[in-house]
């Protein structure tokens, strides 16, 4: 036993280290989130939390399940690939209310009919100009007009149907 003679202080010191390590393990167990390290050096559950955020734009497939008449009109025209919500705005709430998934929140603003969250019809005089006002910066192939001289302030939908705007394709109302 001569090896361990006078070595008591080393054992006490080693014991302290072991104790500190055990305390570290216990604290770590409670402090580090359960899913940390599941996929990498981050909290795995964070991915699911981000994926669970609510959707505001319903997507044109959702719109077309009810508004198939407008979708059909659009299909043959120049706006075939312009999605509904590009002009009408984010309408997932309207879709959810109509599907019975949720009730309209109070107070229901920005809606013609609060019960259905029906959106306000866009004003074509300003809406269309947003894309089609002539500017040298836009691609040359994109159809552009000078709104002032083109329509003398008339609403675009006086002559064009926004869902199928070409006048020679039966787009005019």
């Amino acid at each position: 036993m001569s090896v361990f003679k006078d070595a008591g202080h080393l054992f006490r010191f080693a014991g302290l280290f072991v104790l500190a390590f055990l305390i570290f393990l216990v604290v770590r167990h409670y402090v580090v989130p359960k899913s940390f390290g599941q996929y990498g050096h981050y909290r795995g559950a964070g991915i699911g939390e981000i994926a669970d955020r609510p959707v505001k734009f319903a997507g044109h497939e959702t719109c077309e399940t009810c508004h198939s008449d407008e979708a059909d009109k659009k299909k043959s025209g120049k706006h075939a690939h312009v999605n509904c919500e590009a002009c009408h705005g984010a309408l997932a709430l309207h879709a959810d209310v109509m599907n019975g998934k949720t009730v309209a929140p109070e107070p229901a603003s920005h809606a013609d009919d609060p019960a259905t969250m029906k959106p306000v019809l866009p004003d074509t005089a300003t809406l269309c100009a947003r894309c089609h006002t002539a500017s040298a910066a836009k691609p040359k192939s994109f159809p552009q007009v000078e709104p002032a001289s083109h329509s003398q302030g008339l609403e675009c939908k006086t002559c064009h149907n926004p869902h199928s705007p070409a006048m020679d394709a039966g787009g005019a109302k």
Partner: protein, 243 residues
């Protein structure tokens, strides 16, 4: 059983690798969405962008982006024939309300929509000291806002200027590639709202995605390729003056 030194040298690393995969577990399996089946990116077609700002407004609506901050924005370039290294670039309020009408002169104009490049080897995720930002198994760079300290290292590290500190939450915020939408089978809000199809969400792991044919037949590039970030925001017909 006797194990030679040589066998031991082979077995030990193999066991370590196996143990790593046991610890990692299998990615979360939901009936509709499997992370390991996707590798998301985006294609921007410069020739189609008209600078209407629909994408910027849609992003702000979808993601509650505060005024004056942008997860995506549009820049207008004005480049002379003589000096393409000094383009005039404007982005009034991120292009949210469109751009002033431009008159034709002897320089060329074009629009460049910008957003997070969702880099495969992202500098922003590498500098995070707490593991609050990361690239998900399906290739989207995300921020765990419950874990972020708001130190802004990542804001400085992003070579594309795509991050900001949220003014009220005081944590890092950025484009999530509408992760809450793409995991439900929808496209991003900016792609949904783009009237000309200048933006397209792409899934590089989907063999049926038209991106594969597009990349083979077009002159496509990424921003700052010299930084080897593995950017997945592809630009078709991008001018050399864009930084």
């Amino acid at each position: 059983m006797k194990i030679s030194r040589r066998q031991m040298m082979i077995l030990l690393p193999a066991a370590a690798v196996a143990w790593e995969s046991v610890l990692a577990g299998t990615p979360e399996e939901s009936p509709n969405y499997k992370m390991s089946d996707h590798w998301w990116g985006m294609l921007v077609d410069i020739d189609k962008c008209i600078g209407c700002g629909n994408c910027v407004r849609a992003c702000q609506t979808e993601n509650d982006v505060p005024d004056g901050y942008f997860r995506t924005w549009v820049e207008r370039y004005h480049v002379s024939d003589e000096d393409m290294t000094r383009p005039e670039v404007i982005s009034p309020d991120g292009g949210k309300e469109g751009f002033p009408v431009a008159q034709q002169d002897d320089k060329k104009y074009f629009f460049v929509p910008k957003l997070c490049n969702h880099c495969t080897d992202s500098p922003c995720t590498q500098v995070c000291p707490v593991g609050a930002t990361f690239i998900s198994p399906d290739g989207v760079v995300l921020v765990d806002q419950t874990y972020c300290l708001g130190c802004a290292y990542c804001v400085q590290a992003c070579p594309y200027g795509c991050r900001y500190i949220h003014p009220t939450k005081e944590v890092a915020d950025k484009c999530t590639l509408c992760y809450h939408r793409i995991t439900k089978g929808l496209t991003t809000a900016c792609c949904e709202a783009c009237p000309t199809g200048a933006r397209q969400l792409v899934d590089l792991k989907d063999p049926k995605d038209p991106i594969h044919a597009f990349l083979k037949t077009h002159s496509v590039q990424v921003l700052k390729p010299q930084m080897a970030t593995g950017a997945k925001l592809f630009y078709n017909d991008l001018d050399g003056s864009v930084r």
